[in-house]
Amino acid sequence: MTTIDSIDNGVNVQALLDAREALKASPEAAQFTWRSTTRWENGVHTTSTVKDFAGLGAEQTHKAEATFTADHPEVFAAEDHGITPIEYLLVGLGSCLTAGVASVAQNRGIQLRSVEATIEGAHDIRGILGADSDVRNGYNGIKVTFAIDADASKEDIEALVAQSQKRSAVFDALTNPTDVTVEVS
């Protein structure tokens, strides 16, 4: 029999719960700005870097700068130096939902053994090619399938996945409209 104290998914839930309470009283500290910089290489090949962000009322820095290469595959007549930008959305969604599953499981005292999310985005590329103005540029739909091995009933696992979506930043960003401003400096 596993007790809540002995389960460990590696998530410091107490720190998150403490932060939730602290930020109720100081909403200004909860305002974060995430940043990324993209540099054009050649063709449709780009390099993006992420290092700094702002939050808790101060400038913050990741331990290390992260670099992401994007390109398009050869079937798009490109050189395929990296994944396509729209695939990065799947990366973001999968990592956000999976992190959420681990956090919720920790909070609910459920020991995870393995979690794997498979994500598929259905994309009609006639939109971006301008081949049919009735076809949208973005995904027509995204399907996430979780395979989870844990000390929990099927219902509890389904509830983990549902709660993870409910609190997911990327799920919200993909399912609800976001105001986007693009300017030239």
Partner: protein
């Protein structure tokens, strides 16, 4: 200026229950009422509305439903009559047609200003209701002028609406009831749903609210709930008090022909955009309903009544169409009316005591406000889950008047 020990604001079920216990303790008081007794039930409800709770649950201190249909649901006229009779029976000192315009703290109590004069008192019970105003999201401001917009306060019945499509926003009790009624009136209905509470009308052949009562769910105290803020803000369950006791969940509406879409997220260029997260809000509601039914089943076994009720049952998962619309053009004429069934909020604009939080709700600890001698009654989950309902007021009013009386005794 007129002096009294206690002023009760509002002569609905909550204010009248407070009056009942104040009288029992011999405390001098008046009940100020802007309209008539049970004013909101008289003037702010649509014609077909019935209580969600069965008649046998309509209880006030010393006052029970005595009719022939204990399992039925009161119409608004019956609710008004029920509360009226309670007011008469308790001889509550109600002053009708008296609107409170300001409540201020003084050195030894409170100063109440009304449109008919002023009162000084030691203590005040705020029983002005939780649903004084419809809560309409900001995006309503961007809806094109060609589309008529209604709140449940404007709605009496379908006949006043233009012919043509209706978008009902919100799938709590109000939203599902109005969606069904408007659909039956021949208008194509689209229902926009965010998070909601799904419940069957009957479970194992008993009213689901019988289970809530019997299994002790409604007895849960406010200070024992893991997330009190959420419990207090939760929408009403998808129930209707219809005589045929059928469920009115999303599957029932889909079977009628109501079109389901996600939560209304924004209006952009004359189009309303819906969330693509519909499947998850539906999954959350299904999972929560099943957990509630498990609670009932476990209680049935433990309490030994398992053999006296029908066997456990589980309901079909909520069906979501393969594709739901993510956008709807409001300029095309398909939608003629939007009904904002997006909840209600209290109105404390008259309250000049700093006890209201940033979201317009009272800061209170089980009805005790952070201002000596000031109390609240008749709010959701005030002291128990039961507090949300008419029959929850008896225990709450007794507790709050006990506290009030202790406060007065200590100050003497």
């Amino acid at each position: 200026m007129e002096n009294t020990t206690t002023v009760v604001i509002g002569a609905g079920h909550a204010g009248l229950a407070a009056s009942h216990f104040l009288t029992a303790r011999g405390l001098d008081h008046v009940v100020l009422e802007r309209g008539e007794v049970a004013n909101s039930w008289r003037t702010e409800r649509w014609d077909s509305l019935r209580l969600l709770t069965p008649n046998w649950q309509s209880r006030l201190p010393g006052h029970h439903y005595g009719g022939q249909d204990p399992d039925g649901y009161m119409t608004m006229g019956e609710v008004v009559e029920f509360i009226d009779r309670f007011a008469a029976r308790t001889r509550a000192p109600v002053r009708t047609g008296t609107t409170v315009t300001s409540l201020r703290r003084t050195d030894d109590g409170y100063h109440v200003t009304t449109d008919r004069g002023e009162l000084a008192c030691r203590t005040v019970v705020i029983a002005s209701g939780a649903c004084n105003l419809p809560a309409v999201p900001k995006l309503a401001g961007a809806v094109p002028g060609t589309v008529e917009q209604l709140t449940p306060f404007d709605y009496r019945g379908p006949e006043a609406l233009p012919d043509g499509g209706v978008l009902v926003v919100g799938a709590s009790a109000t939203g599902v009831q109005l969606a069904a009624e408007l659909h039956r009136s021949g208008r194509p209905v689209t229902l926009s749903t965010g998070e909601h509470v799904r419940m069957p009308r009957t479970y194992r052949a008993r009213d689901v609210l019988w289970w809530m009562d019997a299994a002790g769910v409604w007895d849960q105290r406010y200070d024992e709930l893991p997330d009190l803020t959420r419990a207090r803000r939760l929408g009403s369950p998808q129930l209707a008090g219809t005589p045929d006791r059928t469920s009115l969940d999303i599957n029932a509406l889909t079977d009628m022909g109501v079109e389901l879409v996600g939560r209304a997220a924004t209006v952009r260029d004359g189009e309303v955009l819906f969330s693509g997260g519909l499947r998850n809000v539906v999954a959350l509601a299904d999972l929560k309903m099943d957990r509630l039914l498990n609670t009932f089943d476990e209680w049935a076994v433990v309490s030994g009544i398992d053999g006296d009720v029908k066997p456990p049952e589980r309901f079909e998962a909520t069906r979501v169409p393969e594709r739901t619309r993510l956008r709807l053009d409001l300029r095309g004429g398909e939608i003629r009316t939007i009904v904002w069934a997006t909840g209600f909020r209290p109105d404390y604009t008259w309250l000049d005591v700093p006890v209201v939080d940033g979201k317009g709700h009272l800061n209170h600890d089980g009805g005790v406000l952070d201002s000596p001698g000031l109390y609240a009654l008749g709010l959701p989950v005030l002291r128990r889950r039961r507090s949300t309902f008419i029959h929850g007021i008896e225990d709450d009013a007794r507790d709050v008047v006990d506290h009030l009386s202790g406060y007065l005794a200590a100050g003497r």
